[in-house]
């Protein structure tokens, strides 16, 4: 049953990357519990516009949990209280009438705030650019099942490939490490036959690019809890193993 709730929002407002930010409190009354979190923000923004205020800047795109554009720190939890759910798929039925909600952008030195709740996540693009791809000849699509892949391998690779690159792992990490993002992007290719040719070059390049921008993993496990795709930290361990192997193999090949 849908009902309406009244909320008090404490939202991070920051006019630009170099400006000082601060929390501003807004009353959000008469919010339908069927609304998504972003729809709630849309309603608040419409009211702000009507009053002649600047709307709250936040990012969103698909609103069905698969693009990784949205992402907010809600009451100190990345993507809010519901496990395995992106901010856009979080609904107001997860909150109670009279709740106070603190909304902040992702915070990390390499995620500078652009405006309000929007952050610059290009450091993650740099990790992908360093090796998050496979090189193949273009031309007609190859026959299906030309390259056999065991079912278990395909399943595990797909678990890693579920990463939508939202940055929640970095936001939730007390070290601001991007280990889970990088590990997912490394492993979904390293596990499959198509990824083998560049496996060791990829692992070394992506991990070292990650280390330029992000902190060092201390195995808290917060990323796994925050991940809207519930990607396990097992991939981090496998990437650590692949990285040391890559250091040995790449040296032999270079010599």
């Amino acid at each position: 049953m849908s009902s309406e709730i009244n909320l008090t929002l404490k939202v991070w407002r920051q006019p630009g990357p170099l400006a000082e930010g601060r929390f501003v409190t807004y009353e959000a009354s008469g919010i339908s519990t069927d609304a998504s979190f972003l729809e709630m923000l849309d309603i608040v923004n419409e009211r702000l516009i009507e009053m002649g205020d600047e709307p709250i800047v936040f990012e969103s795109d698909c609103r069905e949990g698969i693009c990784g554009t949205c992402g907010l720190m809600i009451n100190g939890q990345a993507h809010g209280p519901q496990k395995g759910t992106a901010t856009c798929q979080l609904h107001m039925r997860s909150f109670n009438d009279g709740d106070h909600i603190v909304i902040e952008p992702w915070r990390a030195t390499s995620f500078p705030v652009l405006r309000d709740l929007a952050v610059d996540r290009r450091a993650m693009d740099a990790i992908i650019a360093a090796g998050g791809y496979i090189s193949v000849n273009t031309g007609a699509a190859p026959d299906a099942n030309l390259t056999p892949v065991p079912k278990e391998t395909a399943d595990t690779a797909f678990d890693a490939a579920a990463c939508i690159g939202c940055g929640a792992c970095v936001a939730a990490c007390p070290n601001s490490a991007a280990q889970l993002f990088t590990a997912a992007k490394v492993q979904h290719l390293n596990l499959l036959p198509q990824g083998q040719a560049q496996r060791w070059a990829r692992t070394e390049a992506m991990v070292e690019t990650m280390e330029e921008f992000f902190g060092s993993c201390t195995n808290h496990g917060e990323c796994e809890e925050a991940c809207p795709k519930e990607i396990p930290i097992d991939f981090i361990a496998w990437t650590n193993r692949d990285y040391i192997k890559a250091k040995v193999k790449n040296r032999k090949l270079a010599g």
Binding site: V207, F214, E222, K247
Partner: protein, 266 residues
């Protein structure tokens, strides 16, 4: 690949490239994942020492002569191949190197994480991170300071006027019978157990030892090791305070040297 990188403009890196590129395999230590490997491997060495040290110390419960003989046995290790105490010193040097690398890697990785991290002014909640994992940077220095005190107290005898070189039973009972010292040992060894609880589990992840079928055992191992170390190490200050370990200020080593020990020959 280089083209792709230059096309993406990024925020400035938080960490600069190392000034000197060391040759393989030292260059592995110049990376964060490499440092985590070194931290894990040195952690295994230190953990091994802590377990053996705790078990060896249980000779205290056999009596003053037995723990003295155990200490002498350690000095005699490998005497068929090497001069006396050489093997012990080789192991000690290995431990010192492991300890130095463990501290250096922890220090530089912490600096890296602090540079990369921004606090949440609105506060944040922890779901998976536990007390042990969040206090590693506190329990580590506590253990380091305690280790210095422990060596100064029971190896070098700086703080103990009744210190007798080579008589562990006497020195332990004299030192730990002081209440502030007993409290210090209890606090420091609790910190050690907390450090081991996260460190043991974390080591598997850092070293890439991960197999979903057996992963749940890593937590049991961490809890078991931390528990055994905690119980074993806390028993010494507690039993000294309770009077179970007490030599009434007599030193068995001094008595052996002066030939006054009663009916004990070995």
């Amino acid at each position: 690949m280089a083209q792709a990188i230059t096309r993406v403009s990024t925020p400035p890196p938080v960490r600069s490239e190392p000034r000197v590129k060391l040759p393989w395999p030292l260059n592995i230590y110049q990376t964060a994942v490499g440092k985590k490997w070194v931290m894990g491997l040195t952690g295994i060495a230190l953990l091994g020492f802590i377990v053996v040290h705790m078990i060896g110390n249980l000779h205290l419960y056999e009596g003053p002569l037995e723990i003295h003989e155990y200490a002498e046995t350690l000095r005699d290790l490998g005497t068929k191949l090497l001069p006396r105490t050489w093997l012990l010193w080789i192991m000690r040097i290995g431990l010192i190197i492991a300890f130095a690398l463990h501290i250096h890697s922890a220090y530089s990785l912490s600096r890296m994480s602090i540079a990369a991290d921004k606090r949440y002014p609105g506060g944040r909640s922890y779901i998976a991170a536990n007390f042990a994992s969040r206090t590693m940077r506190w329990t580590g220095p506590i253990i380091g300071l305690y280790l210095f005190y422990h060596l100064a107290d029971l190896t070098w005898g700086w703080f103990n006027p009744d210190f007798v070189r080579g008589d562990p039973y006497h020195n332990v009972s004299e030192s730990l019978s002081s209440i502030p010292v007993a409290i210090l040992y209890i606090v420091a060894n609790t910190a050690l157990a907390v450090h081991i609880f996260h460190g043991t589990w974390s080591m598997f992840q850092s070293l890439g030892v991960n197999s979903p079928r057996y992963n749940h055992l890593r937590r049991y191992l961490a809890a078991g090791l931390a528990g055994i170390i905690l119980v074993g190490n806390l028993s010494f200050p507690i039993f000294v305070q309770a009077g179970v370990i007490d030599d009434d200020g007599r030193s068995i080593v001094e008595e052996l040297q002066h030939g006054t020990a009663e009916g004990e020959d070995h």
